[in-house]
């Protein structure tokens, strides 16, 4: 009797399960999730397609010469990308040269030197730097930083180097107004610092404490621990973090538009105004039509390709380090 009743109960169980919520809702939910995820792919493809489509006439009209021509003449419909490309690369590289040591310093301070009670407020301060909108950095750069920079750096340095070979051209400001490629580089450096610093800090935090403790145990100083133990351990992901910062610096628009001076000429001096791809698009796009619009789209296309290569390398480096 007992065995029989158990058999009955077992047979009845699947019936109960089948009367549960309909599998249709389950399938719809799963499909919605998949569709949303695919939308991300679609948007990225759409960005590339739309910019390439818009820039195609310019690439066709000017050919490969578009990349190496410094002409930008709306009246004569002659366009070249060289000035903007050089401005973008130089300002981004200056940002790295200035920003990376500061970022590493902050990351090392936060993980190694900072007393425990101050760690959270200090980390919060640095993270808030990342939340400040780009346009506010632009205003700060133009109205606060640029006048100080002109007075205490550009004018004295220009006076000293005037007439000297090489440095006399590289660091001579014709109009010491404070705006220029170097100013843009400095503002960009401040903007990428919180990103590079927070990734580097996370990576340094992941290094097993045992490594650090044993190096202190054999008598290393903090500098030796950082230089010979921590930095080599985290080097791959630090390079990834730097590339991520580079990606941001290349595409940054509003802050650069405020402080770079928006000049369309090649200048050998980093104190002189210039322009970047993003600043030129921001400045001219709304008034542009015809070939100028296509040329700006073509600039956007170049920016897309360069930034995405940099970001892909960055993500690969950071990811590989995380898995390892």
């Amino acid at each position: 009797m007992v065995a029989l009743s158990e058999n009955v109960a077992l047979a009845a169980r699947p019936e109960v399960a089948r009367r549960g919520p309909s599998p249709l809702g389950d399938r719809i939910f799963r499909f919605a999730a998949l569709a949303s995820a695919l939308l991300v792919l679609l948007v990225l493809a759409g960005i590339l397609a739309s910019i390439a489509y818009g820039g195609w006439p310019a690439f066709q009209a000017f050919g490969p010469g578009f990349l190496v021509s410094s002409a930008w003449n709306v009246g004569r419909e002659e366009y070249g990308a060289l000035v903007a490309i050089i401005g973008t690369l130089v300002s981004a590289l200056l940002a790295l040269v200035i920003g990376v040591p500061i970022s590493l310093g902050i990351a090392i301070y936060l993980t190694q030197l900072c007393p425990g009670w101050a760690r959270r407020p200090v980390a919060m301060t640095i993270e808030l730097l990342a939340a400040v909108p780009s346009i506010i950095y632009g205003m700060w750069g133009l109205f606060i930083f640029a006048p100080l920079f002109a007075r205490f750096v550009q004018i004295p340095v220009s006076n000293v180097v005037e007439g000297l070979p090489i440095v006399g051209t590289l660091f001579y400001a014709q109009v010491p107004s404070g705006v220029g490629v170097l100013t843009a580089g400095i503002i960009l450096a401040i903007m990428i610092v919180p990103f590079v610093a927070s990734i580097t800090r996370d990576m340094l935090d992941q290094i097993p404490t045992v490594l650090r403790e044993s190096s202190y145990g054999i008598g290393c100083t903090t500098w030796e621990v950082v230089r010979y133990v921590l930095i080599p351990q985290a080097s791959v992901s630090i390079i990834g973090a730097i590339m991520l910062g580079l990606g941001r610096a290349l595409g940054e628009t509003m802050a650069v538009t405020f402080v770079i001076g928006n000049a369309n000429r090649l200048s050998a001096s980093i104190f002189d105004p210039g322009s970047t791809i993003a600043s030129r698009i921001a400045n001219e796009f709304n008034e542009a039509d015809g070939m100028q619009l296509n040329a700006l789209m073509a600039l956007g296309c170049i920016l897309f390709v360069v930034t995405f290569i940099v970001l892909i390398i960055a993500r690969l480096l950071v990811r590989r380090a995380k898995v390892a």
Binding site: A37, M139, T221
Partner: protein
């Protein structure tokens, strides 16, 4: 080989009462100064970051507070050369487009993050999407503006608040996808197994168990996305542009918004325009920093993690 500290202190060892070695007593000068330089350099770098943030805030407060008046919140932006005015239309336009962006981005972002964490996991497709989402996360926002211009502004025949909202949604989505996935992954597997063992279909388990467990994390992601798009200027430049009056109820035509207003007014020759730009800048920065701080406190509060 440098002279070892032992050799230097050799003669002193014969004298019996030797002063106790100081913390740095036996360390070579080169190592000592390298260490000092590191500590000073790192502290200076951190101080520099704090000084920049402080100086930005002080600048905004000094310049912006003067522009605060009731008119700021009741009047529209003035035309070129005219007196007074406020930024009520820009505040409302920013609110409308930001809310539009978040309303579009939140369901898409949460669902996509759910797909990555719950369904796709380590499949090739999920890995690809995760990778591209990370790239979209740091893509230059001006390119997103160009994309939406081609996608919406040109076919629709003009600037519109809808295009602005879509551009902001595209920027917000990757942030939400990323945080949602990270937070769902922190939910322990046994919770899901327990839900499935009760006979619930997986979609119900996700909605009633994992989402609920990761609730505060997901909300944080949405707040961070909100903070990110509230100050975005570049994508709005080509999509919503600006407008010195109230915008149309159907959001067609230029829609005034704070970031583009700040950009145009800050560089203008009119004193009252610049004053309004500073007031707007203070307003927007305080809002964004407040949102970021709230988001972080939710995450680190008792319910987080």
């Amino acid at each position: 080989m440098n002279a070892s500290p032992a050799a230097v202190s050799g003669p002193a060892e014969t004298a019996s009462p030797r002063p106790a070695p100081q913390a740095w007593g036996r360390v070579r000068a080169g190592r000592r100064s390298a260490d000092k330089i590191l500590i000073i350099g790192c502290t200076a770098a951190t101080a520099l970051g704090a000084i920049v943030l402080g100086s930005i805030l002080i600048m905004l407060i000094i310049e912006g507070i003067r522009g605060f008046s009731p008119a700021l919140f009741t009047q529209v932006t003035p035309g070129p050369g005219s007196e007074g005015g406020g930024i009520a239309n820009a505040i409302l336009g920013s609110l409308v487009m930001t809310v539009l962006g978040i309303v579009v981005a939140t369901p898409v972002g949460v669902l996509a993050g759910t797909y990555l964490a719950e369904y796709g996991r380590t499949s090739h497709l999920a890995n690809l999407i995760r990778f591209l989402n990370d790239i979209l996360l740091s893509a230059p926002s001006i390119l997103i503006g160009l994309f939406v211009y081609t996608l919406m502004v040109r076919p629709m025949g003009g600037y519109s608040g809808w295009a602005g909202g879509v551009a902001l949604a595209i920027i917000a989505t990757p942030v939400i996808v990323r945080t949602t996935e990270d937070m769902l992954r922190l939910v322990p597997g046994p919770l899901r197994e327990a839900g499935v063992a009760l006979g619930a279909p997986y979609s119900i388990v996700i909605r009633n168990v994992t989402w609920r467990a990761a609730q505060s994390g997901i909300v944080t992601g949405v707040l961070l996305a909100l903070a990110r798009i509230a100050g975005e200027t570049a994508p709005l430049l080509f999509t919503a542009l600006n407008n010195n009056s109230w915008f149309n109820a159907n959001l067609m035509g230029g829609v005034a918004n704070l970031p583009v207003m700040i950009y145009q007014f800050a560089l203008s020759p009119y004193e009252n325009w610049r004053q309004l730009a500073w007031a707007g800048a203070l307003l927007i920065t305080v809002t964004i920093l407040g949102l970021s701080i709230v988001a972080r406190f939710i995450l680190s509060g008792p319910k987080g993690r």
